[in-house]
Assembly symmetry: C2
Amino acid sequence: MKHITISEVGPRDGLQSVETTLSTEAKLAWIEAEYAAGVREIEVGSFVSPKLLPQMADTEAVVRGAQHLEGLIIAVLVPNVRGCESALRAGAHKISVPLSLSETHSLKNVRRTHAQMLDEIRSCLKLVEAMPESEKPVFEVGLSTAFGCTLEGVVPESFVVEMAERVLDLGVAEVGLSDTTGMGNPAQLERLLTGIWQRCGESRLTGVHLHNTRGQGLANALRAVELGITTLDSSLGGLGGCPFAPGASGNIVTEDLVFMLQSMGYPTGIDLEALLVVRQQVAELLPEEEWFGFTAAAGLPKHFGAATLQ
Amino acid sequence: MKHITISEVGPRDGLQSVETTLSTEAKLAWIEAEYAAGVREIEVGSFVSPKLLPQMADTEAVVRGAQHLEGLIIAVLVPNVRGCESALRAGAHKISVPLSLSETHSLKNVRRTHAQMLDEIRSCLKLVEAMPESEKPVFEVGLSTAFGCTLEGVVPESFVVEMAERVLDLGVAEVGLSDTTGMGNPAQLERLLTGIWQRCGESRLTGVHLHNTRGQGLANALRAVELGITTLDSSLGGLGGCPFAPGASGNIVTEDLVFMLQSMGYPTGIDLEALLVVRQQVAELLPEEEWFGFTAAAGLPKHFGAATLQ
């Protein structure tokens, strides 16, 4: 079975959605604890205007503070060239630019048309390409609202494939698929993945960012790994992910995802028991938040031990 | 795409787990409302000692009260011959006897060894066989703790297959697989299904009863329908299902399951919008209970309408 990389997005996607602003020390404690539990890719923050998201104002310090964790891929989100400059300066290993396939959503979210976003991506790419080889991060574009949009409704699948190709043709290493609105289903995911893979090659799309807004997260994740996806985004306790209504979770819950993968025999390198302890620790830092997921409350089966560290 | 039958188990599995005892009228109102939303199989109760489960004391009246709903399969659970007699007298269309594959669990749950349970099943079968052809219900045995047991730990997969064969050899129409403890994963489900199908034939195992105790319910359901399972048990709001800890859901949530299946194009005959209204109505009858599921809070996507009634 292929190794699956869990990319923990809680410190970015989770923390940008909550009222509380965690201190840099608290964020680094969270990141270090997940690293100690075996997580090897963490989206630690985003380089956006601190006026818009004060919770993310210290992202540069967080990236620098995580550099000593050997083997950890430090991922960040950047919405524009300015953010990309900061990410490169801080030494991020993976930079993601979100491109919303719903132009209405793109205008609302980052006030840019598709053409403007493609220009922005082109400019970011130039900056990345200018870096010395040893410091060059992985540069990817996350295709958001790829499964449907609350504003536009259907996002045509042919358009998703077309935009993936256009973005990859710019020279971007990879695109990712994001179910921003939690509308996706496994059949749709399969059509999108195979459509893009056939047109652009399997190595150009290896990760997906799925939400659990309608409870479909793990079913979609299952289909994704079966088809060959090797990186799955998820969030500790399902924190974040643009919930649309109270009680509607956003992100896939990291703990439940690790339970599924390891039970099936997919190695993740994560110690699930240790991860459940990290959940408790982070939950104490954010007492106002609703924590999702079922494995924590149910506990691990008696005989799970042998499969915990694969 | 194959039609998938959703077997709603809330009135049995849900209500046996809650403190409140609903009146016969309230139970029938629930059953009628789900029927009106398109549900065509409902486990309406169990014939167990009213001393043990007072919530189920009126199961005979509920079965009789549901008889006018044309095309509805009225399913019941019976633990023994006495229960089977009552079920036949009331006119149930489908009778399930649970057989726990963990003998420790069987002894604790129904105070019977495997040998004693097989005797009980044999006696039930005789009663069923003696019925006139037109009144003969479907008789099935649910293999519970098939994915692991909280008491015994691992339940060997070869033993699950062996017991399925022994039960089917008695002349039982079908066996079902129950993930009583919510320990199952899609790979294990696939091994068990293919193991039993190869030995006994696909027509002898067409339904599964999955739990969501560790959040794996829909992922397991996805794998099951892909492989050819055509009946899935689930419960409105995830009510019931032996939760092991507060906040740990038991059953798969009917609403989220219908969302998945219909989004993928599997016809279920269920009007999901109507079902979400039933959820609200039943929730008002059981204000003390925790209601699970995400679709209700997030709402249906704008463009879901066309797919609602398939």
